[in-house]
């Protein structure tokens, strides 16, 4: 078992033991579901919209080279500096170089899962830079030295009281249970940072090929301030974020808002076309766009799972996933949690180390049913399991299935197995729950069903 797998078992176990926290998350996501369904109703034909969105992403992903080239040419024509990074390391180095050249001391960031993916904050802090997250939820988890709990809601696992206590401890604020006051406390700290920051860093929701623009969606306006106030702006974009046309946003912006946070439209939707142009009053003097591959082209090469690149990071699959709802985001131990994380993490970080996430699913398919861009999520989990077993079969597990295959294909053996099982059943009562119990992983939380005194086949045979 990989160390990541045993860590997952440990963390998932701790999370499932905490029934209070599980109830809290379930309630939060239950409220989200109500809002989401209400806004799904604003789409005349939701299934049609999904089909259309999947088609557009299919087109973008299957012609990624063409659309990226178009995007970059347009960006460069307005003076944006574009950098390509094939690995996380390269992306970090590129960003560090820009920051060093600017002799920067402080950096303000708006929320970007890609920056979590490449552990950007660590790299910047090692360089002696002060990095502050400007998204409220992300700011809170940063103060706690934690990673985001959820792709869209970084601190959804925390109650107001915990946030208040954190602010008292870290920011010296007075205790309060009022969400507005908590927001104001964070805002007072952050406002100063925007003004004094030398560099702003953002992520992106969509990269529009034909317009050469970057689309950013947010609720707090912090990304706007991050992009507008510092003299230098760096935007880190995963190459899969491409949309072919500006008009595609008419579908994707409401879809992202609805599926992401249960909103009709997110509060702020901004398009960025380049650094400050002559005659313009605001915006950065320099804009650098870093296009991140980091194994995405490897996923592109996988024809079976290429559609995982359709992902718009709305987090809808996490919200409906019964695994996520019970183990929570941190147990996954990886940047992208939930079903989409379980699908892509083996591609991004290695199959053998991360196959346990694909196994830790009941394959219920709620994620696939929900995904607005129709990623075949739960079937990809199955494929990951197959690929992992083909690449490196677990000796004992394979042996067990070989025995099982033999048992169920030889009627005489199957009949004998049932008889033996029935004979052993009284014995099982004695060893149940002890280390000798072969069914311990079942019986520790559930009663084992009794083998029927007469099986269906016995009945059928007698009847004939």
């Amino acid at each position: 078992m990989s160390t990541f797998a045993s860590q997952f078992l440990q963390d998932a176990g701790r999370a499932t033991d905490n029934s209070d926290q599980r109830r809290f998350i379930r309630t939060a996501l239950g409220n989200y579901e109500i809002a989401r369904d209400r806004h799904k109703g604003s789409f005349q034909d939701w299934q049609g919209a999904r089909q259309l969105a999947a088609g557009i992403k299919w087109e973008a992903v299957n012609h990624l080279d063409k659309y990226l080239e178009q995007f970059v040419l347009k960006l460069e024509s307005r003076g944006t500096k574009v950098h390509w990074a094939s690995t996380g390391l390269q992306a970090r180095e590129t960003i560090l170089q820009i920051v060093r050249k600017k002799k920067a001391h402080s950096i303000i960031k708006s929320k970007a899962m890609t920056s979590e993916e490449i552990h950007l904050n660590d790299a910047l802090e090692k360089e002696g830079l002060q990095v502050v997250e400007s998204d409220l939820g992300e700011f809170i988890v940063q103060l706690r030295h934690e990673t985001p709990y959820h792709i869209v809601f970084p601190c959804m696992h925390l109650r107001r009281g915990e946030i208040s206590a954190l602010f008292q401890r870290e920011l010296g604020s007075a205790p309060t249970n009022d969400p507005e006051e908590l927001t104001m406390i964070a805002r007072r700290v952050l406002r100063k940072k925007y003004i004094t920051a030398d560099v702003g860093i953002t992520g992106a929701n969509f990269a529009i090929a034909d317009a050469g623009m970057v689309s950013i969606t947010e609720n707090e306006g912090n990304a706007r301030l991050t992009a507008a106030l510092p003299k230098t702006l760096i935007t880190l974009i995963g190459i899969e974020k491409i949309l072919p046309r500006l008009e595609d946003l008419a579908l994707f912006l409401p879809m992202l808002a609805t599926m992401g946070a249960g909103q009709q439209l997110t509060c702020y939707n901004t398009l960025y076309a380049g650094p400050r142009q002559p005659g313009e009053s605001d915006g950065p003097e320099e804009w650098h766009v870093v296009l991140l591959d980091n194994h995405r082209t490897q996923l592109l090469a996988d024809t079976e799972q290429r559609d995982a690149l359709h992902c718009i990071r709305c987090g809808a699959c996490l919200n409906v996933c019964p695994i996520f709802r019970n183990v929570g985001g941190h147990a996954y131990g990886t940047t992208y949690s939930g079903p989409i994380g379980s699908v892509i993490t083996p591609h991004l970080r290695g199959l053998q180390d991360w196959k346990h996430l694909s196994n830790a699913s009941s394959l219920c398919g709620a994620c696939t049913e929900t995904c607005p861009v129709k990623i075949d999520l739960h079937h990809h989990l199955l494929q990951n399991r197959r690929n992992a077993a083909q690449e490196k079969p677990a000796f004992l597990e394979r042996f067990a299935y070989q025995i099982f295959s033999l048992l169920v294909t030889k009627p005489a053996l199957w009949s004998l197995a049932k008889k033996m099982g029935r004979a052993m059943q009284p014995l099982h009562k004695i060893i149940q729950g002890t280390p000798l119990d072969p069914a311990k992983s079942w019986t520790q939380s559930r009663e084992l069903p009794r083998l029927a005194p007469e099986s269906f086949k016995d009945w059928w045979r007698k009847r004939r």
Binding site: L9, A12, G13, T16, D17, S19, R26, P322, I323, N326, V327, N359, A360, S361, S362, L363, C364, G365, A366, T368, E369, L382, N384, R385, R386, A388, A389, Q390, E397, R398, Y401, Q402, F404, S405, L407, V408, T409, P411, W414, K418, G421, S441, W442, Q444, S445, R446, E447, L448, P449, R450, L451, A452, E454, S455, F456, K457, D458, W459, W460, R461
Partner: protein, 238 residues
Amino acid sequence: MTVTLFIPCFVDALFPQAGISMVQILERLGHKIVCPEAIACCGQPAFNSGYWDESRVVAVKVLEQLRDAETVVIGSGSCGAMLKNFYPGLFADTPHEKLAKAVSERTWEFSEFLVDKLGVTDLGARFPHKVTFHDGCHGLRELHIKKPPRALLSHVQGLELLEMTEAETCCGFGGTFAAKFPMISAAMGEVKCASAIETGAEYIVSNDSSCLMQIQGLLSRQGNALKTIHLAEVLNQE
């Protein structure tokens, strides 16, 4: 018509009454029932764990037994999904590909067969109890069966169907998942059980015995009196 009944391994060994009820119901409707002796399992446990070669050993046997079957009926959404949805992929680019597709097209889940194929919703059953229905995930999301079981239950005399809020939420069984990740599986099952208990029903009905095995296992451990029963058994009560 001649109906070939596919009895899954756990129904055979643990819940024969569900299979017997299916035989009796279909015979009452005038059909001839065949139950191939050599079929014990669809191969799903190995398939879901990624051991497709080992799964194929089992599935080939199934395909050969079902080669001449006119109609195949399965009393489990999960095994139904295996035959209908996963066999064609499992046998892609193998000599059995065509047969897998043919068998897939002839296979029906029990409730879907009654309602959508035979057009029967009233079996003259009587079950004077409050029940809640659990949608097994494979039946619901692989085979898209939502209405047929409810149509059948709505015609059972004396039966009161109380829908639970988490009807479509996974019970946490998921085959080997239940044994590999018992703590997550049990946590999911607890959510399911709590939702079912909340309805005040006396029985949880499902068209999948494997889900019921998980739910009943948890309820018994909790000492809760709520019982589980397969849809076919409810429909076979007079």
